[in-house]
Amino acid sequence: MKSLTDIRNGTRIFLDTSILLYARWGISPACRALLKRCQGKAVQGVITPFTLADFCTSRMAQEAQAAGFTQEPTPLLDFAEDLADASEPPLPPGGLRFRSTLDLSRTPQIIRNLTIYADDTRALLSGELEIASVHPEDFLEALFLQKTHGLLTSHSLNVAIARRLGLNEIAAADPAFDSVQGLIVYHPQDFQATQ
């Protein structure tokens, strides 16, 4: 497994959302060091609008939780008690009910009062990281990647965009990319439990 410190100067590399979050949370000095290298242009960090969306969503939920507005993210298995909610129609046998794990979508007045997540997201738009554009054909490639490598939506879209740009190196805490052939994945290996 390659470490973030193995990334050579001059490399143009895709940054997964997890790298940005771990750097912001202060739980991985290696992630912070990588962002500093991107800032100093020793490494050219590339992200996509999907990376921005992931980051924005995570920080929004985190800020809302910190302010006491929402509950913790609920594991899917805990939805069993929700299924007994009399206000909702019963599910057919084996049926699935999809819903957001947070109630933020129902509380726009809460989102309007949050500020930190927005400033953090603006920080990513400052020009120090390259933001790749999305093409419609990226979705076709993403569907193929989902089928061949079992990738989730945002992961597959990001890999599709990276491939189109000729990037074969990615920095990620997430092990999901390890299975993609032809991709060199660098992982942070220095998580710290406390800030």
Partner: protein, 81 residues
């Protein structure tokens, strides 16, 4: 030096301001002055904050999510139903 200004505000808000002014024995002009000063100071503070990746490298003002590591690895927000 002070100058006179005129503006239009929401009726309900103005009623609240009048009530507060009466309760706190302040002039409405004083309350407007306090509110504007507070707004300007907060705006200036926001502008003086670091921008760009420097901001992300500052100490996070938010507490760490309880399951921070698993939160991202197992369930990126964009992939949630």
């Amino acid at each position: 030096m002070k100058r006179k200004i005129g503006t239009v505000v929401d009726e309900a808000l103005f009623e609240d301001v009048k009530t507060l002014a009466f309760q706190e024995r302040r002039r409405i002009a004083d309350i407007v002055q306090i509110a504007l000063t507070d707004y300007v100071q907060r705006a200036k503070a926001r502008r003086s904050e670091r921008v760009g990746l420097d901001r992300l490298l500052e100490k996070d003002p938010l507490p760490l999510p309880t399951d921070a590591l698993g939160y991202v690895i197992a369930d990126p927000p964009f992939n949630r139903p």
